[in-house]
């Protein structure tokens, strides 16, 4: 179970590769024992202004690709000199972190933001140079994968500078991903880590990391805070994404164990949407007075609204907070725009807009996509986190064996900066309480939170520590069962695509390092020609085994993922020859799902690509 610990690796490290921020924490394994964890955060040096470097606990996950005439080499030098390996920030054309965000506020077409959401966007070529999405055609672009490499390389260089004796490449590193990441996005994240030189990486779901942080922080007291039979709902609303997980508290051989039993879907909805919603609300007020804002001022306004929101959403906070949009020019007094944000407006826009009190039967609205849509991120169409939550709990009800059509959490752990507001936490708890008491179940209690910004990195470090065999491990394995689509054998009907049935290749809950059984069915692959398969995942079907065939399934039971592609090399075979293969799924030690095609004879294996290059259109 535990890996051999070598002398060079007394540190175990957790990295939160977030949509809006990255953070890194570590545990000194030599100084930790049992529940006493010697955990530390590493401040990440980054450019905060041209030529100025400061170490901050958070690295904004922004890349900026400056024009040659924008900054001098001295303005963008970093404290680590020689490029250590591929993706080192010194040889890369980008600025990473705080300065990138600041520059991007004024020149958005050179800013790569939310690259992690693009990494999970199956509709694009994730290795293709597509970012920044609205860069002018002659300007350089990078792929979502390159962006992840650049962020990780910056974090690595920051670590190596602080710990030259124990470089990050030689440490056990746990890297977090959203629980809702599909297998291709997980694989790409692992690939990015490898390209950044992190050799000993494991992936961990962010909501689990938040719970690990809560455990690590409690010095063992968590065992008194939860009981066997508890179901912990982790609600993680980050800057750009919302992620839900259910973790059950069970008992095994007299000790409490934790098992992650369900994860939610990928929802592109977060705190930044709330700040922007407020900023647009305030802009309308200003425009009604005949005053206009440019893009930079809107960004500044969103900043101002975030601070005002936090004040107004405090219990017993002020009734209104002035918001001033600073002038773009030097005449600050003459040209700044003053307005105010009231408690009523924040209540209407944030509390009722994002966390409305809805019945448990509410579901997120799905508008039909209209006409030609620009190639952009698939943002959530319904802004109400509570409606997404209702859908999640209902979907997982059956799978977790809960009666009444709703999974029944008994405790809630909040994560993400949005929940710094006690009123938002109280609203979510009240809504959940209403749903559950209507079913005769007790209202869930709140688990006192860890640091909302740094919990994921700290929890990841704790997870890396548990890989040594110490501490408490959350079990769970893969959060979905996976299926390939095969055409049903039936007479062709003109004008109708042959129906697809789904063949299970990987059951729910496969642990790291496990291989599923070889699929009995044989598929014919043409040598030298790429063959594609439709690929599906289900977060609710727990009992399917390898080889289970689904002829039909309910709405929402199976989600279609990016296609799989198999291409057999021609070496030793004739092009065009058809080879019968069987599929086998493996979850690597890193935590990445792999599908291999195994021919009936011989010992060869070919890996299927989970991340198929997307055709234009």
């Amino acid at each position: 179970m535990s890996e051999p610990a070598d002398a060079s690796s007394s540190h175990v490290v957790g990295i939160d590769l977030g949509t809006t921020h990255c953070a890194i924490s570590w545990v000194d394994a030599d100084l930790s024992e049992g529940d006493a964890i010697a955990g530390r955060d590493l401040a990440i040096p980054q450019l905060v202004a041209p030529g100025q470097i400061d170490a901050r606990p958070l690295l904004p996950s922004f890349l900026y690709l400056p024009h040659p005439s924008e900054l001098t080499p001295a303005d963008r030098a970093l404290p680590w000199a020689a490029p250590a390996s591929e993706g080192a920030a010194t040889e890369s054309p980008f600025i990473v972190g705080e300065l990138a965000r600041a520059l991007g506020g004024k020149t958005p077409s050179r800013l790569v933001a939310s690259s992690k959401s693009w990494l999970c966007h199956g509709g694009i070529d994730r290795r293709g140079a597509v970012l920044p999405a609205d860069a002018p055609p002659e300007e350089p672009r990078i792929s979502p994968l390159d962006a992840a490499v650049a962020l990780l390389a910056h974090v690595r260089d920051a670590w190596d500078r602080a710990h030259p004796e124990t470089p990050l490449a030689a440490q056990d590193v746990t890297l977090t991903v959203p629980a809702s990441f599909d297998p291709a996005a997980r694989e790409l994240t692992a690939e990015a880590a490898a390209r950044a030189g992190l050799a000993r990486v494991r992936l961990l779901e962010e909501p689990q990391a938040a719970l690990y942080a809560w455990i690590a922080r409690s010095d063992g007291a968590w065992r008194r805070e939860v009981n066997v039979g508890d179901v912990i709902l982790v609600i993680d609303v980050g800057g750009g994404t919302s992620d839900f997980s259910l973790i059950a508290v069970r008992e095994s051989e007299g000790a409490l164990t934790l098992e992650r039993v369900a994860v939610g879907e990928h929802i592109l909805l977060g705190g930044d949407n709330m700040d922007l919603a407020l900023a647009h609300g305030v802009r309308q007020k200003l425009e009604a007075d005949g005053r206009t804002l440019d893009t930079w001022q809107l960004v500044a306004l969103a900043h101002g609204c975030r601070a005002a929101k936090e004040q107004l959403l405090t219990e017993g906070g002020p009734a209104s907070v002035p918001v001033v949009v600073p002038s773009r020019g030097s005449r600050l007094v003459a040209s700044s725009l003053r307005t105010e944000l009231t408690r009523d407006e924040v209540d209407a826009l944030v509390l009722e807009g994002f966390f409305p009190a809805v019945p448990a039967s509410a579901r997120p609205a799905q508008r039909a996509r209209v006409g030609l849509r620009q190639l952009g991120l698939p943002y959530a169409q319904d802004a109400a986190v509570t409606r997404h939550l209702a859908a999640f709990l209902a979907k997982q009800a059956e799978a977790t064996g809960a009666a009444g059509g709703l999974a029944r959490p008994t405790a809630v752990l909040f994560n993400g900066g949005v929940f710094k507001s006690a009123r938002l936490r109280a609203r979510v708890l009240a809504v959940l309480g209403d749903w559950l008491t209507a079913l005769g179940a007790p209202a869930p209690r709140e688990l006192p939170g860890a640091d909302l910004d740094l919990a994921v990195a700290r929890g990841a470090a704790y997870h890396a520590y548990t890989r040594r065999g110490a501490g408490v491990r959350i079990r769970g394995g893969t959060a979905r069962a996976y299926y390939v689509g095969v055409e049903s054998a039936m007479p062709a009907v003109p004008g109708m695509a042959p129906p697809i049935s789904a063949l299970c290749v990987a059951p729910f809950g496969m642990e790291e390092g496990a291989s599923a059984a070889l699929l009995d069915e044989e598929l014919g692959l043409v040598v030298g020609e790429p063959v594609r398969f439709r690929f599906f995942g289900s977060s609710t079907r727990r009992d399917d085994v390898v080889g289970t065939v689904l002829e039909r399934w309910r709405e929402g039971e199976l989600d279609e993922l990016a296609e799989l592609e198999a291409e057999l090399p021609t070496a030793g075979r004739t092009a065009g020859e058809i080879v019968a293969v069987r599929l086998q799924a493996t979850v690597t030690e890193v935590g990445v799902l792999e599908l291999d095609a195994v021919p009936r004879e011989g010992t060869e294996r070919w890996k299927l690509s989970l991340d198929v290059r997307h055709d234009a259109g």
């Binding site: 202004a49 030529g51 100025q52 400061d54 001295a74 303005d75 001033v324 600050l332 007094v333 003459a334």
Partner: protein, 193 residues
């Protein structure tokens, strides 16, 4: 006077730098105090601070002092400008504006400068008692942190009214500067294309 005189700008920069270093660095403050009083440097002062010719009691501070602190002062000014538009605010002619207009802009300055200071130093009151309360200064009270005023006579302990709580900075850290970065640009001109 034989000693070289500094330009106004250099003096302003030096005053800024010295101000913050005096707040942050008690030993330095003591040295400045003795330089101001014309006393010889403290016996345990660093060698470069020692007066080169002991025969001349009044010597200018050694020129070395001007180097890094000037950068730090300019850097702090740039920081206050970036975060709180400090230079824009104090350089603008505000005589024609109403208090409400100035007040609105002052919020930008206040919020931003407070954030900048918060991030780069720890500021706390020298005395924790409420202002205008009666306080007693013990016989060995720290002279550099407390100024006695008014009817100053006799020997401590002194009892008096706390008129100002004072401020003390600690944990001062400014962003590091890259080699070749021009700190005299407090804010670049901005040309939108």
């Amino acid at each position: 006077m034989a000693e070289p005189s500094l330009s106004f700008v250099s003096r302003l920069a030096l005053a800024f730098a010295a101000f913050f270093r005096i707040l942050a660095d008690g030993v330095f403050a003591a040295r400045v105090a003795s330089a101001r009083d014309g006393a010889p440097a403290l016996p345990h002062a660093e060698p470069e601070l020692r007066l080169s010719a002991p025969a001349i009691p009044k010597a200018a501070p050694p020129p070395r002092l001007r180097e890094a602190p000037t950068d730090a002062a300019l850097q702090l000014l740039a920081l206050l400008q970036r975060e709180g538009r400090f230079v824009d605010f104090v350089k603008e002619d505000v005589s024609a504006f109403s208090d409400a207009e100035i007040g609105a802009a002052a919020r930008v300055v206040h919020d931003g400068c407070a954030r900048a200071l918060e991030e780069h130093m720890h500021l706390r009151a020298v005395r924790s008692e409420p202002e205008d309360s009666r306080v007693t200064l013990e016989a060995n009270f720290a002279t550099e942190g407390v100024r006695v005023t008014g009817n100053v006579r006799g020997e401590p302990p002194f009892t008096g009214t706390l008129r100002h709580r004072g401020w003390r900075a600690s944990d001062v850290h400014l962003p590091q500067l890259t080699e070749g970065h021009d700190v005299t640009v407090i804010a670049p001109a901005e040309v939108e294309l």
